[in-house]
Subunit: 157 residues, 2 copies
């Protein structure tokens, strides 16, 4: 359940390796981006995620936002010394406008989320749940899509 301490760059490389090992994620050419100000970025080229209308496929928008939030939880747990299976439990997605640019998502804990409480519960029970928010922010413009979701982490035994 507890792993040796790793650095942020190492943890980001681990996430990229996990993405690359998942066939649908590799096909979407998803890249782990920067982690700063408690938010993790994830990117993917439009060309690998385009729909019949020449803009981004809704399923790819959902996937990239889900992955950003999933990776945030996995990253935070690893930096705290834990290996866990992280699942999305539910999500609400609003597709606000078509995306004609490369996909750039940023995820962080939801407004009411309590990371310390999540971590304490995870350590005590081997399982915890956290509310996450993920946004599709193409080219620094206002969000083109938003995801609110709950993610569950289960300690690997």
């Amino acid at each position: 359940m507890t792993s040796p301490q790793i650095s942020l760059p190492q943890a980001l490389r681990q996430l990229q390796a996990t993405f690359d090992a998942m066939p649908p994620v590799a096909a979407m050419q998803v890249r782990v981006g920067d982690y700063r100000e408690q938010r993790l970025a994830v990117d993917a080229p439009l060309a690998a995620n385009v729909n019949d209308k020449g803009n981004a496929f809704g399923g790819s928008l959902c996937s990239v936002m889900t992955l950003a939030a999933w990776a945030w939880v996995t990253l935070q747990l690893r930096l705290a010394g834990h290996e866990a299976d992280v699942y999305v439990a539910d999500s609400q997605v609003r597709y606000l406008r078509p995306v004609y640019e490369d996909l750039h998502a940023e995820a962080g804990a939801g407004p009411g989320a309590d990371w310390e409480g999540f971590l304490a519960t995870f350590r005590q029970r081997g399982k915890a749940r956290i509310a996450m928010v993920s946004r599709l922010l193409p080219g620094g413009q206002p969000a083109a899509a938003e995801l609110d979701g709950r993610f569950v982490a289960m300690a690997r035994r």
Copy 2:
């Protein structure tokens, strides 16, 4: 806005061609299935949609359920003689349990949806919105995931 009448098999082949032309959908190897009892099925092999835990990637579940509902709306419009750009506007997804089987989704109009009203609005305004339900039903078992979503159709001009 109005196209010549086409048969159900022709319309299903058109949907498959659209899926195959979308890179992320082709990568997930999504196949249009049967249309019966007002529900359209969509399938995809687990191998092309697997995650780091050996079960189906949440983004693929979201994508396949979204595609089934999107295809249902597109199909119904085509059978009624209309070509439209169909978008998902929002969706709520519940991931109920991990999926270790090939992906099989079935979509239909939501419980409160009024197809005739949708069609009348579309014909009058060139734009209409409908509530859809999509379920992930692996191997005829109870749903492993559920999507409630609203879809918007805009007439092609």
